[in-house]
Amino acid sequence: MIRDSIVFIDEGNDFVMTDEFAAVIQSTDNYYVIVTREGIPSLPYSVNEIYGIRNSGKYGTIKRTYNEFYHLYATEDFRQSVKPQKVITEDSNSGYQFFENVCKNNGEVNCVSAQGKSNIFAKVVENPNEKILVIADGAAFGSEMDKLMKYIQDHPVVTLYLPESFEWLILRSGLLEDNSIRELLNQPENLIASETYFSWERYFTAQLIEKTKGSYLQYTKRQLNPVYLQNRVKDKILEGMNWIEL
């Protein structure tokens, strides 16, 4: 078994699409560079970790293709707010419960769960003229990006908001008075053991559960603690999304 290595897998190897491959690499401590034009839904890779290879002179250079906010300009360049008619969340657990409550209070915005990232595209194309905001975990959304990007080119009414995860939003909000969170958010790559956490989303979930255990902010993935729906707490989480009108 290969350990503590960077493994390059060239295109033309269809085993990377299998659940078996995902299961085998899940508990390894290697980094994997996979060359393919296909999305790999069985692997939770970040939108930030998709690179295009651009030819430049004799040798290619690698340029990152996606940013966290697709179709949104960089924050300092943002010129207009986003006011969706519908919000589609990836999950059906705490993240959906949170945004469903936010939208219900708004009154004008409908919030639905896609019940998984692989269902988001189908949900988006159902209503081509509706202003849609997709909220999904950027840390594991890589496999869905290409087709959504191509769809949005002709349907700019669709916007993607891709924070690392809902748990990352809570950690970032400042609700938890824990000094270690800053390093955790700024340089997670220095802290995440890849053989323990298959994705950063799982790492942030584990951290949030551990850091809130026994407190009034105790967090569980399946059922949202009602304290997160109190206005003070809710507003702190939403502070980092103030260009989105919900």
């Binding site: 034009r37 296909e38 595209f121 194309v125 087709k147 959504l148 769809y151």
Partner: protein, 145 residues
Amino acid sequence: MLNIFYGNMPEAIFNTSVYFKNSYEDSWITDSFAREMILDVDQSVVLDSAVIDSPVMGKIAPVTLSGGVKTLILIKNVPDKIFNASVCGDNCAKWILKLAEHSDITINLRHLMDFGDGCFDIRILNTDQIVHSMKELVPIAGLYV
């Protein structure tokens, strides 16, 4: 007409490089259409059936051509097989459309190849619909990749 089946297709030839290596013929490389494709896609000049001049790798054999151009050559010369064209970059899309101008061809795609801003006729075999632009194609094909 270009016919495309999107998604996993067991009967398609997945590894086109291996198929090419085992089956190509000299005439496939020296024909004028192939020369144009190789020049455009790989920026390489065919010198003869066994030697191609590449700006990156120097004098190479046909098996060292890019996966995309090898797939294009297979599509042209082996019309009774369906090839996985997801080894082809978007720079191959116009050539696939050109090949389909002269005859019906069928390919398998496992990603959304960009066929450009122009109009075209593509039959999506998954739903038996004909589309004429990427705006029409993406919402249908995206459900299968």
